[in-house]
Amino acid sequence: MNDQTPFRPRVGLFVTCLVDLFRPSVGFAAVKLIEDAGCTVEVPAAQTCCGQPAYNSGDREDTKAIAKSTIEAFEAFDYVVAPSGSCAGMLKKHYPALFKGDFDWETRATAFSAKVFELVSFLVDVRGVKSVEAGFHETITYHDSCSGLRELGIRTQPRQLLKTVEGLTLKEMQDADVCCGFGGTFCVKYPDISNAIVEKKTVRIEETGAGTLVAGDLGCLMNMAGKLKRQGSKVEARHVAEVLAGMEDTPPIGGRG
């Protein structure tokens, strides 16, 4: 039999807590983008958190328990994709380090790690996606989230795809790669410092004159959207997946439906 159907990799979508609880549209956008890139997508129901809040608070034992259940739920897939550089970084970079010295789990975590990708880097680096079929008629500015940028090297990939969105103009802000002050548990532990950092960030965002702020991590987006809103700004915030999937009609983050 001459089967011409190309191989469709099975992707397990790691939804992430914030997408699940605050912004499910990012999950649906991710499913569309991964399917458009020639893959099948499944969302294992056994998934929970990546374990980062526990890990960053020093609770190694609970983190290990969470990591084991994540690995068990996802290791049968060809790829594991998350619409977040922060959670993907946890799965890819910190899981193997977490199990150092535990031969069996370190081996499993390392094999699992090789399959994990942040959504946009998966599309561009793994699937070779060069453009998307979407329209977004707005000037946007793009914020590089820390973990995605520094742990996973995500910088050019989202910009590459955003430039192919019809009607979209990308206007870079100064200090696009500087932290927004969120930092996961950091903003809870040190709200004063977090606030001082995000105040600088929103100045940079406003300077561009862009109408929409785009980023790849919902934590950072909610932090910046919250600050912008309290400052009475008109700038709206959206996740990069929503823009690339053409979900222009979804209300912005923190906006009215």
Binding site: Y190, D192, I193, A196
Partner: protein, 141 residues
């Protein structure tokens, strides 16, 4: 060394409300970040050089026994003496001996992180030898 981490939150709040400090920190961005970027842009091989430097450091650390011996030989050839210490305590004692042997009451020292780590200044002061830092940065920061 005074430990300030228990009052970090309060200290941070005060630092954020300190206009002079905030102004100085804002200067850091033009003084360090922008100027660094300018220097990086003028050196296309920057990342390759940085990788090379890391490789050299990693290699040296992995073969430290060899390099420390080689270093000692070179110092001896140049007429110097190398003192070996296994602990902070031992290192402090060796330094104090050298000071005592020349009857020193005052000693000038250049900036060194290892002397910070072994708590040399406090130790010398306690032993009646007054250390004077010659590194200008100590006085600025």
């Amino acid at each position: 060394m005074q430990i300030t981490s228990p009052s970090f939150k309060q200290n941070a709040r005060e630092a954020l409300a300190d206009p002079q400090l905030q102004k100085a920190l804002n200067n850091v961005r033009t003084g360090f970040i922008d100027k660094r970027q300018k220097a990086v842009d003028a050196l296309p091989e920057f990342d390759a050089l940085r990788d090379k430097a890391r490789e050299i450091k990693d290699h040296t650390l992995a073969h430290l026994d060899l390099y420390l011996d080689a270093y000692e030989n070179r110092v001896k050839e140049a007429g110097g003496t190398v003192h070996w210490a296994e602990s902070a305590e031992e290192a402090r004692a060796i330094i104090l001996d050298i000071c005592r042997s020349s009857g020193a009451r005052t000693v000038t020292k250049g900036k060194s992180m290892i002397s910070e780590e072994i708590g040399l200044n406090e130790f010398l002061e306690k032993e009646g030898v007054k250390p004077i830092e010659t590194d200008l940065g100590e006085y600025i920061i």
